[in-house]
Each structure stands twice: as structure tokens, then as C-alpha cells.
């Protein structure tokens, strides 16, 4: 029973994927992950609609609404002819190795997740707490947006947890645990298969996956039940899809609906989702020059997403005085720059981060590769540089207590870009090891 909401999300996402792309996501692992993530977004929107229309949480109505959506989509989908079928993957020794890596990651992750059934600090005091508030608050559900702490976030994540409770047989800690488990396990799949899409040799992609799942932080943060895991999935898959556009592997008009939908759900997940959305747009603009970009189709999914976002923003109370305010006078304070750089380095050298200091080191070494001049992954570098610079500037300007701000946020931002950093590094390795095109 507790697996049912996840299967429903996958089924709904798969159907919507089929409607948009006119093909099944099977057997491409990235497309399957994309379907699941779309399903999560849609299910949480269903939970939101149920509460909005009935003024309180009612599991039976939400379940009915879900069944109605499933049946409607199935009826529509029945009349659509899939004009393209994915070719089956070529099975070789690499796939069992990948499966073994996922099993190792799964067992270790299960150990950490089920030893922390309530998740980390923000999970039990904010995100899951809001979900339980939605479940128990009755007609006062809108107070969700007026509790002062962290009221700035749009709350897609608690609505999704609520959906899992609705189908999972009641309020339980098991479904948030399973949710974080599945979402975390998506990340190594995206790292390995994403690298494969970028023509990185399978052996190097597997090494990248093995390194990724060996990072203690992957498990520590994976068990935290934070929505950063969800936003990391959306971000990673968004970047993989942008690379598809750049590499011309998939750039049909309908593909941009899918990309827009996946990027749009970031707006509903966390407040920094908006920043990441803008950065991804910027990356697309700067790195896909000469390619056909269907902007209207990219922005059309926002017509579905923005009403949810705007409604939640309207109900929110303004942030308490002093919170999220910026002060431009900090720009001339060189101690802040030094402090932030030191903190960044401290995080990179942290043992729990799995010795991430190898990233800048290897990146530096990679720059000397002669083959990189023409084949470096421009889009990834643009995004990651934009991400790091933006948040660095934000830390410089932020008015509130800087050490506290860094202490509570940097590790989460680092997690969000961890898969893309690993992918960038191994993409560079692959570019270096390719035979030189020059005589």
C-alpha cells in the first residue's frame, strides 16, 4: 500500500510524457526518471487542488480525483498513436555493473534513511511538519502560509507528502522515507545515463556513478528528507535535457513542453527554484546559439504552474523584518569575501563531502588538456559558474548573520550541484582521453 502513491506518480508521469512526446519513456532510464518527476509534480498539484476546492484535506476526495485523472489520461492516451519507439539498449557487461552500483547505493541508503525516520532538522520541523499540518488543520489549512518561519517557500513538497499519505493508508513516516529513498536513487541513474548520453565511455560513466554513490554526503543528505533532493533531480534532468537540445539529439517542438514542465516544477519546490529556473534559461540562451529553441512552448507549461505559484505567493505573509534583506554596503567589506571563500573551502575539504576538493584540483588539471579547446561542455560550465557566482554575491549582500546563513545553506546548495559537478568533471576527462583530431 505504501508503494502505491509512487507507482501512481510514475504511471501519471508516464502517461503525460506519452501525451507530450508521442512515445513511451520506456526503456530510456532518463525518460523514466523524467516521467516519475512529472508525476510527482502533478500529484502534488492534485493535492493542492483538492484542498483548495474542498477547503480541507479529505483523502477519499483526493483519491477520487486521482482516479478520475488516471482514467481521463488513459482515455486520451488510448487514441494517440506513438510515432516513435525508443530502440532497446544494447545489453552488455556494463549494465549489471550499473545495477550492482544501484543495489549498493540502495542498501546503504535504506540503512541511513530508515535509521532517520523523521529526516533532518528542516524535514520534521518544516517540510513534513507542514504536510502533517495540512492533514490535520481542517479549514485552517491556509495558515500553512502564515506561520512565519520559512513562509517564503512554495510548498509543493508537503503537498506531495500529503498525496503519499492519502494513498499510503494514512499519516506515516514510511512514505516520506520512501520518497527520499527513490529520489536519491534517481541521482546516480541520472549521472551515469546522462554521461552516457554525452558520449562519455561507459566505464568512465560508471566510475563517476561509483564516486557519486561513495560520497558520504549523498547518504547523509539523502536521508534528510529535504526538498533539495527533489530540486536536485529537477535541475539535473533539466540540464540533461538542455544538453539534448544543444547536441541536437532531441529538439522537436513538443520536447520543449517537457523541458518547460520539468523546469517549471522547480518554481513550486523551493524559493531558490526561481533562481535555478532563470539560470537554466540563461544557459539555454548562451549555449544553444544557432539551435532552434521554441520559446513559446518552453514557457507554455508556466500557464499551468504559475497559478499555483501565484496563489501561494499571495497567501504568504511578508518575511519578518531583517530576513532576506540585502545591503549593498557589504560589497566593499573584504572580510566577507574572505569568510565566504574560507567557508566554501571548508565545505570542500569536509570528509563527509567525500573529499570534493578533488573537483577543483582535477578541474584545474583538466584545463591543460589540449582536446578541451573545442569540446568542453560549455552549458554545464555556464550554469555552474552562474550558480556559484550568484550565491556568492547573495552571501556578500545578505543583511542577516553571515555565519549562520552560510552554516544553514551552503551544504544544501552544494548538494544541488553535486551531480552536475561530477558530470562536468568526467565529461572533461572523457574529452581529454579522446583521440586528438589534429594530425
Amino acid at each position: 500500500m505504501i508503494y502505491l502513491p509512487f507507482l501512481i506518480a510514475l504511471w501519471l508521469g508516464r502517461t503525460i510524457f506519452g501525451l507530450i512526446m508521442r512515445r513511451s519513456p520506456w526503456p530510456d532510464p532518463i525518460d523514466i526518471c523524467a516521467s516519475y518527476l512529472i508525476g510527482i509534480g502533478v500529484c502534488s498539484c492534485l493535492a493542492f487542488i483538492q484542498i483548495l476546492c474542498w477547503h480541507h484535506y479529505e483523502p477519499s476526495i483526493l483519491n477520487g480525483l486521482t482516479i478520475f485523472s488516471i482514467l481521463s489520461l488513459a482515455l486520451i492516451n488510448r487514441n494517440i498513436q506513438f510515432h516513435h519507439i525508443n530502440s532497446p539498449p544494447k545489453y552488455d557487461l556494463h549494465w549489471p555493473i550499473m545495477a550492482s552500483l544501484l543495489i549498493i547505493a540502495g542498501v546503504t541508503l535504506a540503512f541511513f534513511v530508515f535509521n532517520n525516520p523523521y529526516g533532518d532538522w528542516d524535514a520534521w520541523s518544516l517540510w513534513n511538519f507542514r504536510a502533517s499540518f495540512l492533514a490535520a488543520s481542517g479549514e485552517h489549512w491556509k495558515d500553512l502560509y502564515t506561520h512565519s518561519i520559512q513562509a517564503k517557500h512554495p510548498w509543493l513538497f508537503p503537498y506531495w507528502i500529503l498525496f503519499t499519505w492519502s494513498w499510503g493508508g494514512g499519516i506515516t513516516t514510511a512514505t516520506p522515507c520512501l520518497n527520499t529513498f527513490f529520489l536519491s536513487l534517481i541521482l546516480p541513474v541520472l549521472v551515469i545515463c546522462g554521461l552516457r548520453e554525452w558520449k562519455v565511455p561507459f566505464s568512465l560513466a560508471l566510475l563517476a556513478g561509483a564516486w557519486f554513490i561513495s560520497m558520504p554526503y549523498f547518504y547523509y543528505h539523502g536521508a534528510s528528507q529535504y526538498p533539495d533532493i527533489m530540486i536536485t533531480c529537477f535541475l539535473t534532468i533539466g540540464m540533461i535535457f538542455i544538453m539534448r537540445v544543444i547536441n541536437n539529439t532531441e529538439n522537436g517542438p513538443s520536447f520543449f513542453y517537457l523541458l518547460g514542465l520539468l523546469m517549471g516544477f522547480m518554481l513550486l519546490t523551493k524559493d531558490e527554484g526561481l533562481i535555478i529556473y532563470m539560470l537554466l534559461l540563461l544557459t539555454l540562451c548562451l549555449s544553444a546559439s544557432g539551435k532552434t529553441i521554441y520559446w513559446k512552448r518552453l514557457f507554455l507549461p508556466l500557464a499551468f504552474i504559475l497559478p499555483f505559484w501565484i496563489a501561494q505567493k499571495i497567501w504568504m505573509i511578508p518575511a519578518p523584518a531583517g530576513e532576506n534583506q540585502i545591503y549593498f554596503g557589504h560589497l566593499v567589506n573584504r572580510y566577507r569575501y574572505v569568510y565566504i571563500v574560507k567557508y566554501y573551502l571548508h565545505m570542500l575539504f569536509n570528509k563527509k563531502m567525500g573529499n570534493l576538493f578533488f573537483i577543483p584540483l582535477m578541474f584545474f588539471v583538466s584545463l591543460f588538456g589540449k582536446n578541451l579547446r573545442n569540446s568542453y561542455p560549455k552549458a554545464l560550465i555556464i550554469f555552474l559558474a552562474g550558480f556559484i557566482i550568484f550565491f556568492f554575491l547573495l552571501y556578500i549582500l545578505v543583511k542577516e548573520n553571515l555565519p549562520w546563513r552560510l552554516w544553514t545553506t551552503v551544504y544544501r546548495l552544494e548538494y544541488q550541484i553535486m551531480p552536475l559537478s561530477v558530470m562536468l568533471l568526467f565529461n572533461l576527462f572523457s574529452s581529454i582521453s579522446k583521440p586528438s583530431t589534429r594530425s
Binding site: N115, N116, D120, F133, I149, I171, M215, P435, S436
Partner: protein, 142 residues
């Protein structure tokens, strides 16, 4: 890059990352399974590292010997605590966020409301307020 240099480069990459991956997994095996931020642990619970479970499994030879905790066991404990939060929010919630975490663990353990099935009443709210006062004093002194 020629064939020889390419293989040397790949060897260095695999060798380096092999060591890093090995070290990371050794750390994971012996690391405590609770989070470093101090998530609320059920009282009286003893945490053991992953290595303990693996050794136990290998020696016994049965997966069934792995005794992962069932999250549902303590569900009521946590949700009773959260209902206490509802009774006092947003005041109580405001007090939590920026302060020390370790105290919360004992704080949760000390709350009478943490017992399964207990209902929130005025006396309990008063006790909670006492706890908050104590909590604030201690946190500010630190």
C-alpha cells in the same frame, strides 16, 4: 592524445578515484547512521554503524537478521509532539529554528506529550512553556 598517453591518463583517473571511493566507503561503513545536524532521535535508541549490520549478516548468513528500525513504531511519538507544536505555533516554532539542536533531542525526550496517545491539555501546555523558558535560557547562555 595518443594511445599510450590516453591509457596512462585513464589509469591515473581510475587509480585515483578507486582510492577515493574505497576511503569513502570505509568511512560510510563506520560512520554513525544518524545525521550530523541532530535530528530528533527516539529516546532510548542505540544507533550502530552500517558495518555492524553487515558483519552480523555475514556471520549469521541471513538477511532477516538485519534489524532496521521500523519508522512506524515511533510515528505517534513524533506526531504527538507535532500536535503540541500546533497548539503553540507560531510561538513555539519560532523558538526552534536558529538555536542549538542538541537540546531539542533531550527536550523531545523530556516532553510528557511524547507518549503515544496522550492528549494535549492546559497543564501540558504550561509544562511545555516551562521547557521553552528553560530552553531559551540555556541556549542564550551558550
Amino acid at each position: 592524445m595518443n594511445y599510450c598517453r590516453k591509457n596512462l591518463f585513464l589509469f591515473i583517473v581510475f587509480f585515483t578515484f578507486g582510492i577515493i571511493i574505497g576511503r569513502n566507503f570505509l568511512y560510510i561503513l563506520s560512520a554513525p547512521p544518524y545525521l550530523y545536524w541532530g535530528s530528533p532521535s527516539p529516546p532510548g535508541k542505540t544507533y550502530l554503524p552500517l558495518r555492524h549490520y553487515l558483519e552480523k549478516t555475514l556471520m549469521a548468513g541471513f538477511w532477516s537478521n538485519i534489524t532496521l528500525p521500523n519508522p512506524d513504531v515511533d510515528t505517534n511519538f513524533m506526531f504527538q509532539f507535532q500536535r503540541a507544536q500546533f497548539a503553540l505555533t507560531p510561538t513555539l516554532l519560532d523558538h526552534y529554528t536558529p538555536l542549538k539542536h542538541q537540546y531539542i533531542v533531550t527536550f523531545v525526550g523530556d516532553i510528557p506529550v511524547a507518549k503515544v496517545g496522550q492528549r494535549i491539555n492546559a497543564d501540558l501546555v504550561l509544562k511545555l512553556n516551562d521547557h521553552i523558558a528553560l530552553f531559551k535560557n540555556r541556549a542564550f547562555k551558550e
